[in-house]
């Protein structure tokens, strides 16, 4: 175990099993987003969660615009965590952009991973005429980045939610609440740029690790056409359509998400 990586990426290890499941969070949040899902796997697996540098409680000082200027930097974080814990045969569960982070990591070290579980994945968010439907035009993404800049520069109170207490929810641990999705807004904006301008379609044919694709219904960020495209492009992929709507089924519909992952892993030898 390398203590520096553990601190840098705020790595948490739980579970009573031996086979490792690593959960990688998507853009816009941190490992807290898995909290409704991971307990279901703790009896049978070694459950590893972490924050990418610049998200959650990672060491922000380790952030560099160079390293994290492309998804390769995030893939390196994932590999660093696996190496630090000396993991093998890893089942990677990645949400959204982390699905592509997993694609990149598995191409670099195919032997490290046994399965890739992709929750609401997309290899490219911007439409590419005439054949590819990503769901957005370039100017839409520009609008997103501009809006995030506004939230950063103009309306600093946006950071307030992490310190605002909600008296209607006494069940939530205050500490957790105070840190939920806390992130430096400038880093978050850059992460958005890296995520939403990325195009990983050409990487897909190089993936050799079998994968599960969880496609939500009515997902604005990763529409059904994208799931179909991925299924066609990834050899050894299984496509499952969830009833869950939206882009974060592991938060809004954790039971269905857990059941789909469990069913898939049950087929793994």
């Amino acid at each position: 175990m390398h203590p520096d990586i553990r601190t840098r990426n705020n790595v948490l290890v739980a579970g009573r099993g031996t086979r490792p499941m690593v959960f990688a969070h998507g853009f816009g949040c941190d490992q807290n987003m898995w909290r409704a899902v991971t307990p279901a796997f703790e009896d049978d697996y070694q459950v590893v969660t972490f924050d990418y540098v610049g998200s959650g409680r990672s060491d922000v000082a380790a952030y560099s615009a160079d390293r994290y200027g492309s998804l390769n930097g995030y893939a390196q974080d994932l590999l660093d965590v696996c190496h630090a814990l000396e993991l093998r045969d890893v089942i990677l569960v990645g949400h959204s952009v982390s699905s592509m982070v997993g694609v990149l990591a598995s191409i670099r070290e195919p032997g490290l991973f046994s399965r890739l579980v992709m929750v609401a994945p997309s290899p490219r968010y911007i439409n590419d005429e005439p054949d590819y439907v990503g769901g957005f035009e370039r100017r839409d993404i520009e609008g997103l980045i501009e809006m995030m800049s506004q939230n950063h520069h103009g309306w600093a109170n946006f950071l307030a939610p992490v310190v605002m207490r909600n008296e209607d929810r006494p069940g939530l641990a205050e500490e957790l609440e105070a840190s939920f999705c806390a992130a430096d807004p400038e880093i978050t904006r850059r992460f958005a740029e890296v995520t939403f301008y990325s195009d990983n379609r050409a990487d897909l044919p190089h993936v050799t690790v079998p994968s599960l694709l969880l496609q939500c219904s009515d997902d604005l960020v990763a529409p059904a056409e994208v799931g179909d495209f991925l299924h066609r492009s990834l050899a050894g992929s299984t496509l499952v359509h969830l009833k869950a709507t939206g882009h974060c089924p592991h938060m809004s519909h954790p039971e269905e998400t857990v059941a789909a992952i469990r069913a898939y892993l049950a087929t793994v030898p």
């Binding site: 809006m147 309306w155 307030a160 909600n166 939920f180």
Partner: protein, 676 residues
């Protein structure tokens, strides 16, 4: 936990509001939200919330804001872009909170207003920064002057030591004395400061240099007859007590003093004393009047800047709050007035009347806050201040006790000045009430109006400005000490005790006067009464006719009103009132919209807000007037931001209604305008 409000109640909330279900679908959208986006209710309810927003905002909602809300529970002031039914993008700030049952309540606010306040604040900060820069420059100059002074003092020390040696040599030898004395005198006369050898016992001047008597304006003979305390005003207080310990202080003693010249002027001086061995004192002094004046100017400038910054920030705050409050008040007053017209039981009538009374009081407080924040839209006209004061006489009499007499001294002829007569009435009223409160028992308040060519020192008016017309309100009351006087104009400062006053009176007066390009100051001493002086700039121009002569009563006649107002709640209310009053109403949400609507329709009157997106009310009025000469124009506004003096910009004959306006008053005003 409180029960969530029902749908009908939410529709009454004037700000746009949404409630989202567990799947982030819209469960409820209130009337204001529907009005903002131009949607029908069935077009919104049941839809995923992100579909109400521009694509960038949709991603932001899905990937960031909604997960964050579900995790953290609430979010404040999140900048989002709404996409209205017509495809227009609109910047909004969202406040959202997650409820225990998993639903999310979200209210929206348009960014435009907030951003305007922020821009205003940024501009003010810049002004303050520039003022600070100037102050720093002055400070540097002063530091330089101080450095020069220190050099002079060091030089003085050095020369004093030299002189002392010479004096000692003089005492040692009579023979040497005669030639030494000549050298000594030559050296003394060459020195820049005043030098004297003083007999410690009686203060007489044994010897002195030319500079000493020349600086003080005496001839040699006159000066020789003086004793040092005749011209050194601090000698007895400062030097005399030091004489005893002077012998034991090898470096001598220094102090600041004041010298009186032969002509009676007073100079600030730095004095250095050194004991000689024969009961004489060696005294050297330098004139430091310039440095002392520079220092006091700097202190005063610093104080002025501090005061200006404080007043500006409080003013901004008051003006900003009052403006938002005005719009809310208008909705409250309007709906209450509509309720009052309906069939209500007597008890309910009385309750609605109470609501209206409270709203009236709140609206008067808002006007005071706006006046203090200097954002009240003025309607200035050229007027004779003497006549304005004379007309106010009856009202002023009612404000003071019977044992207080009001005397008037109105000069004639007075130069015309330009101001809002109602505001000047407010100024007089506040000053006279203050004066009356300061008088215990019988007393006199004197109100004088006169022409002033050059303002006196300390008035704050620029020396080259003017001419001015002055209003003075003088009382024979208890007066104020310097400490009280210094804070008299500050908002919320009051001497009247709990319940006696709001502490806004004088700051309101100051706000009005400064907005009218005038100046105000007070002079007072405990026990000797107080005089407030208001200076207003004299102008060239014809005097306006008295308002009563213009307002000929005309019978009502309904017609078509083009209503341009960007605040949806206010627009809906005003439209309702107008329709109720028999008018046909064409609604427009800004100036451009109004031009589009007007293009194909007959319009009898334009009723418009001033500040609107895309095209404001004033340019709208001008453009419509070009197309339709003679179109009656009525402008309404809570405050007019940068366009403060609306009367100067509007097309001729346009009239003005201040917000909040009550429905009956608005209808009367429109009838007058259309009829006329």
């Amino acid at each position: 936990m409180s029960r969530p409000p029902d749908d009908a109640t939410l529709d009454l909330v004037p700000s746009p509001f949404l409630r989202l279900g567990r799947e982030s679908e819209v469960l409820h959208a209130n009337a204001a939200l529907l009005a903002l986006g131009g949607w029908r209710r069935d077009e919104v309810v049941g839809r995923p919330v992100h579909t109400l927003f521009a694509p960038g905002a949709r991603i932001f909602l899905q990937t960031h804001l909604l997960p964050l809300l579900r995790g953290a529970g609430s979010a404040e002031e999140v900048f989002l872009i709404l996409r209205t039914r017509s495809g227009e993008d609109m910047d909004v700030l969202a406040h959202a909170v997650l409820r225990a049952d998993g639903t999310i309540d979200c209210s929206l606010m348009r960014v435009r207003e907030r951003r305007r306040y922020e821009d205003d604040l940024r501009r003010e900060r810049q002004v303050a920064e520039e003022a600070r820069g100037e102050l720093e420059l002055q400070t540097e100059e002063l530091l330089e002057a101080n450095r020069q002074l220190e050099e002079q003092a060091a030089e003085m020390e050095r020369q004093a030591a030299e002189m002392e040696e010479m004096v000692e040599a003089l005492q040692e030898s009579d023979e040497a004395a005669r030639s030494s004395e000549a050298r000594f005198r030559a050296a003394m006369d060459a020195m820049p400061g005043g030098i004297a050898i003083v007999n410690a016992a009686d203060g007489s001047l044994v010897m002195f240099n030319d500079t000493a008597c020349a600086h003080l304006g005496y001839t040699h003979e006159e000066f020789a007859a003086l004793r040092i305390f005749d011209f050194d005003l601090e000698w007895n207080a400062r030097a005399q007590p030091e004489l005893r310990r002077l012998h034991s202080s090898p470096d001598g003693v220094q102090f600041r003093s004041r010298h009186r010249t032969r002509g009676g002027q007073v100079q600030d001086v730095l004095v250095s004393l050194r004991a000689l061995h024969d009961g004489h004192i060696y005294v050297v002094w330098f004139d430091i009047t310039k440095q002392v004046r520079a220092e006091s100017e700097r202190q005063s400038l610093e104080e002025q800047l501090r005061q200006a910054q404080k007043m500006e920030s409080v003013g901004r705050l008051a003006g900003g709050v009052a403006h938002d409050f005005n719009n809310l008040l208008m909705v409250i007053q309007g709906y209450a007035a509509l309720l009052a017209r309906g069939r209500l039981a007597p008890a309910e009538q009385a309750q609605v009347a109470e609501i209206l009374k409270a709203a009236d009081r709140a609206s008067s407080l808002t006007r005071q806050l706006l006046a203090y924040g200097r954002k009240q839209a003025l309607r200035p006209e050229v007027l004779d201040l003497g006549q304005t004061v004379a007309r106010a006489g009856g009202m002023l009499r009612r404000l003071v006790r019977e044992d207080v007499e009001i005397r008037y001294g109105i000069g004639s002829p007075l130069w015309p000045t330009r101001a809002d007569p109602h505001q000047i009435g407010q100024v007089l009223m506040n000053l006279v009430i203050n004066a009356s409160d300061a008088i215990r028992g019988p007393g006199v308040i004197e109100v004088r109006v006169r022409n002033v060519s050059a303002p006196p020192e300390g008035s704050g008016a620029p020396a080259g400005g003017g001419p001015w017309v002055a209003i003075e309100v003088r009382d024979t009351g208890c007066g104020m000490d310097a400490t009280t006087l210094a804070v008299a104009f500050e908002p919320f400062f009051t001497t009247k005790g709990l319940g006696g006053g709001t502490g806004l009176g004088l700051s309101v007066v100051q706000g009005i006067v400064e907005q009218s390009s005038g100046h105000i100051w007070a002079e007072s001493e405990p026990g000797r009464g107080t005089t407030f002086t208001v200076l207003l700039p004299a102008v060239e121009g014809a005097l306006a006719l008295p308002a009563d002569a213009m307002a000929a009563h005309v019978p009502p006649s309904a017609g078509t009103v083009l209503l341009a107002e960007d605040d949806d709640a206010v627009r809906s209310l005003v439209a309702l009132v107008l329709r109720d009053g028999g008018y046909t109403v064409l609604e427009a949400r800004d100036g451009e919209d109004a031009l589009r609507v007007a293009a194909s329709r007959q319009v009898d009157l334009l009723l418009t807000d001033v500040v609107m997106p895309r095209l404001g009310g004033v340019p709208l009025a001008h453009q419509l007037r070009r197309e339709r000469p003679g179109l009656p124009v009525v402008v309404m506004s809570g405050y007019a931001g940068d366009a403060l003096n609306i009367g100067e910009e509007l097309p001729p004959g346009a009239t003005f209604v201040g917000k909040p306006v009550n429905p009956d008053a608005l209808l009367r005003h429109l009838k007058d305008v259309i009829g006329g």
